[in-house]
Amino acid sequence: MLGVRVTDSAYPVLDLGELGARAPFLTPSAAGFYEENAVVCLVHNGHRSGTPLQVAAGGESSGIDLRWSEERAGTLHRCYADLVKATEFGACAIALLLIHELTPFVAVEQAMRGTTVDYYLAESATDDTLVFNRSARLEVSGILAAAKGNTVAARLDSKRHRHKPESDLPTLVAIVEFGLPQATLEEI
């Protein structure tokens, strides 16, 4: 089975506008959609481009500058009034950028689960038939603003304590919180 791990950030800047380039498996409209949702959540919490994102990954913590285009940011909230969904999709934007920046995974496969998209990670895309074999699952979870009982640590804890048999898929959990903002990447 594939082992999930994270590496050091090569460059401490995360530009939401580069999601399309960093995640080429996304269509341009999907990349823009995820990016805009993330910006809505960040602006909702009073953040401006350049705000540091506290990242905990591989047992270490660091700060990464989070950047986005502020020109469009002011009008986006009208298009994305549903903050519950914005949190879900916005978390995907940041998680996928962090995967690109902090992990050795280069192949990202997608699959539908209900009305949401699941992501599977692999270090190389070698098999054109057994597409998901030798891949790890990426579970993305978003929090608009941490509150009592709804924190990154609590959410990570509930995922850690979930019964998970050894034979199950290796899973990398990404939890993104827009209030601070902060993000955690951890294998469970």
């Binding site: 549903d82 539908m112 895309a125 057994l130 998901f132 074999n133």
Partner: protein
């Protein structure tokens, strides 16, 4: 031959576009794209060889195909691919999700058969206070508030379409365009989500949208919470609807002992109802000037049905010492009173005595403890 990867990648491009379109409410195009994506994903599944090393690819592709089929309401196909995924040797987590998917498929199929569409509009109600534990809540604290909020939504629909206030009797189906559904409670502060389904073909052009109804209710509760009832009264001009709105909101409000805050949230509005129940007055009808001036009364007893009394009054109250009172309910308070039928209550009102009959014009009712 087109490979599994090529077919699957093409399906995912369409699925992503469908996802983006759904967020802009272009559901028709989103469904068409999901249908096309399903066709490609189904082809990809069929190209997976019959061998032992095909997992987890086989079950993940089956889950993906079933999800896409569900998105375009192809229930039989969705069920077939979910079952196909389970028939292999899926990883435990995927197997669990496929079983959940089968339940979701059955639920949506049943909704479709009943002509109901479940939209994205929701109203989340979160309770905080000593009666709320981690994922657990006092039954009455929960049930009463959910009953009040669904009644508020229902009455708001009637008011917004311009129907006269209806005290009793069954309303025609076409005056009930929404069907409430309850989503499983979330842990933490006890929180449930009410979703409004719409009856297919019964949303007349002049009906308010589910979003309008929910927003109207939240704005009204916000006005009550901030003690701006006069502003609410200018919005709800009909006295009966106004009294009904305030009385139901008051009954939902924190009691100061078991529930301290009731938080309500829609997809774009959040309201905290922190004002205590006892501080919310309900507008009283002017007391009629009669030769025998009615006396204010505050009594406890069992609120029961008229049929058990064989009297003219619809409801009555029997006190601990066996005294019986006929209860007259002012328009607008009927939903509140109905929620206490069969319960031990504290009634305040104006008492008039005519011969052997004691009649109370009810001005307030609450649990008798």
């Amino acid at each position: 031959m087109t490979t599994v990867r090529e077919l699957h990648n093409r399906a995912m491009v369409l699925a992503q576009e469908a996802l983006v379109l759904r967020s802009t409410d272009d559901n028709e195009t989103a469904i068409a794209l999901a249908r096309e994506a399903f066709g490609l994903e189904a082809l990809a599944v069929r190209q997976i060889p019959q061998s032992e090393d095909v997992e987890p690819t086989r079950s993940i592709l089956c889950q993906s195909a079933a999800s896409l089929a569900l998105q375009c309401s192809e229930f039989a196909e969705a069920r077939r691919y979910a079952a196909l995924g389970l028939s292999g040797d899926p990883p435990r987590s995927i197997a669990g999700e496929l079983l959940q998917l089968l339940e979701t498929i059955s639920f949506h199929e049943a909704l479709t058969q009943d002509g109901i569409q479940l939209g994205d509009e929701f109203l989340e109600c979160a309770l905080t206070g000593p009666a709320v534990g981690y994922g657990v809540v006092g039954y009455r604290e929960f049930i009463d508030r959910i009953t009040q909020i669904t009644q508020l939504l229902d009455r708001t629909v009637q008011r917004l379409v311009g129907s006269a206030y209806r005290r009793a009797g069954r309303r025609p189906k076409d005056a009930q365009p929404f069907v409430p559904f309850l989503e499983a409670p979330q842990r933490g502060s006890f929180s449930v989500t009410i979703r409004l389904g719409t009856r297919e073909g019964e949303m007349a052009p002049l009906f308010p949208s589910a979003h309008d109804v929910i927003t109207n209710v939240l704005e009204g509760i916000e006005l009550v919470d901030s003690e701006r009832e006069s502003e609410l009264q200018t919005r709800i001009k009909d006295d009966a609807y106004y009294v009904n709105f305030v009385s139901l909101t008051r009954n939902m409000a924190p009691d100061g002992e078991k529930i301290s805050v009731v938080q309500l949230r829609s997809r774009d509005k959040k309201v905290s109802l922190a004002r205590s129940r006892t501080s919310i007055p309900v507008m009283q009808r002017a007391t009629p000037v009669e030769p025998d001036v009615p006396k204010h009364i505050d009594i406890k007893g069992l609120l029961d049905f008229a049929t058990s009394r064989k009297g003219e009054s619809e409801i009555g109250l029997t006190t601990d010492d066996g005294s019986e009172y006929d209860i007259e309910v002012q328009e607008g308070l009927d939903d509140l009173v109905r929620s206490y039928y069969g319960a031990y209550v504290n009634v305040t009102g104006l008492l008039t005595i005519e011969g052997n009959r004691k009649r109370v014009l009810l001005t307030d009712v609450c649990s008798g403890g």
